[in-house]
């Protein structure tokens, strides 16, 4: 036997990098074909920048009260007027982007990591694991989503952190079902059997062979569930069990604006439009991503 010449093998790191480049390239091409992807992607990027650079954009401290300037009308000094304790509404809306987008990121991370791990385990291991996890998720789905969030938040105590956790938990079923369903489909393919035959471990098969195949639907779901997260958080904030005052949270800002509806009807417009714009953009981005990444799922 002659010595086998060692071929330069691509390392795992290089392969992942290639994979990432391929994905970015795929997205870029898709962006040109699906202009909605670019438009709403840009809106989201702008919102994120607003959140990150809130201190530079906001003209006032969002918590600074001014008893002499309560419920003033929109003016060049206060673009959206001032609220019931004289805080600048525009600055509060700008800072609110931090809370809302931060919650979206954290809630989706919670839901995605728990949901996907549980879904992969249920779909790939099957048997009892599947039974137990699936019934658990069914039980969660027995609650209308926001009601479960309300129950969880009231149990843990009202605060921004607990609202985030609750909004994350209620979205676990979405990712669980997605991951489980995809695994059940993918694992029947021959390349999975082949990988098992050459001795790949379960974990390796899941990570290297199954995960890449379910990544696209997960990206779509993450975008859509960001919009759900922001709506749910706004609802919790509105009924007073989300972020606590004086945090500039869009939902609780609308709640306090509702008290002054007769005197200062413009107050609810800033946070209301901010919620709408963010939720709408995430859900449109999700639709566009679905069209681009997974044309089979396209909804007419």
């Amino acid at each position: 036997m002659s010595a086998v010449v060692a071929k330069p093998r691509t390392t795992v790191a290089e392969a992942t990098l290639d994979e990432q480049r391929r994905r970015v390239g795929q997205l870029w091409k898709a962006g040109l074909r699906y202009p909605r992807l670019l438009v709403f992607g840009a809106v989201i990027a702008t919102l994120i920048l607003v959140g990150v650079f809130a201190p530079l954009i906001a003209p006032y401290d969002p918590l600074q009260t001014a008893p002499s300037q309560v419920l003033t009308q929109p003016s060049p000094a206060h673009l959206l007027g001032t609220d019931n304790v004289g805080r600048d509404q525009f600055s509060r809306v700008v800072y609110g982007a931090r809370i809302s987008l931060g919650v979206a990121v954290i809630a989706v991370t919670i839901a995605l990591s728990f949901g996907v791990c549980m879904g992969l385990a249920a779909g790939y291991v099957g048997g009892w694991t599947d039974q137990v996890l699936s019934r658990l998720v069914d039980a969660m789905l027995a609650f209308p989503g926001v009601l479960l969030a309300i129950a969880i938040t009231s149990a843990l105590g009202p605060s921004l952190r607990n609202a985030m956790i609750a909004v994350g938990i209620i979205q676990i079923p979405l990712y669980f079902r997605l991951a489980r369903g995809q695994v059940l489909q993918v694992r029947e393919h021959e390349f999975i059997t082949a990988a098992a035959v050459i001795g790949a471990s379960r974990f390796r098969i899941l990570r290297r062979h199954i995960m890449p195949n379910i990544a696209n639907p997960l990206i779509v779901a993450a975008s859509i569930s960001s919009s759900t997260s922001i709506l749910a958080l706004a609802a919790l904030g509105f009924i007073g069990i989300g972020p606590q005052p004086p945090d500039p949270d869009w939902g609780s800002m609308i709640n306090s604006a509702s008290g002054a509806l007769g005197r200062a009807p413009w107050l609810s417009f800033g946070p209301g439009l901010a919620i709408f714009l963010t939720v709408f953009s995430f859900s449109m981005l999700g639709d566009a991503l679905r069209d681009a990444l997974d044309p089979r799922l396209r909804i007419t």
Binding site: L147, A155, A235, S258
Partner: protein, 307 residues
Amino acid sequence: MIPVAFLASVMLFLLLKLTPGDPVQVMLGERATAQNYEALRHDLGLDEPYPVQYLRWVGHVLEGDFGKSIRNGGPVKDEVLARLPATIQLGVAALIISIAIALPLGILSAVFRRSPVGFFATAFSQVGVAVPGFFLGLVLIYVFALSLRWFPPGSYTAFADDPGQWLRRLVLPALTLSLFGAATQTRFIRSGLLDTLHQDYIRTARAKGFGEASVILKHALRNALIPSVTLLGLQIGAILEGAFIVETVFAWPGIGRLAVDSLGARDYPIVQTVVLLAVFVFLLANLLVDIAYAYLDPRISYVRSRS
């Protein structure tokens, strides 16, 4: 459904146990001594293991005993039952309005796909799901109640007292609550109908010489509506959670507002009972939807076929 209901009830029970605040401490207040604290704890059965407490709780619930309100000490059941009719009226009205909007809009937008109607319907279904109910409610109150004065800004009048006033007060909250369902249903009806219109039997019906209206309304619509029936279950869930918000905005004395007020007052037995009731209604609605689904589409069977 039974195992799901069981697990859901365990979840709710555990959430109840996690809830901060010691009920014994709350009930005794200043009079708490180590001795009567232990005595009351024992009387309430709170010193027993969780599984025993759980079974006792389920037993009480099945007997219709939902505990006592922390705020006024009255039975939770009475308070919730007193508020239930207002929520039912609001929910049913919202459901009717959403179907009344979605059905014609969905059909028109599928038939006249590339027309302004089609564009409007698509925009409506996309925008409608992104508008938070409380914001829409405030806008409607401002425009139609405070500015135009067409409707009162909120509150409730019983139908028996004054039917006209009842209807005037119902319109704005029901419209607000219906938006989400109307938007999602429009989309479902539209895509269902678009799918169906490509089927062979539709071509056959046209070839046989049926008029276009008859083809769409009699042949296509029946099958096209099947997916949106499944959506009804979810929609009822959305109405239940929306009731919490919309009732708060419009000062509507239903169970949602009761729960929100109780959250503020930390009256958790009431909150838990309302959530329990909502879960029950949601499960029941989904069960009925499954049954209706099998009835509407004979290809679907929940019994394994004997072949």
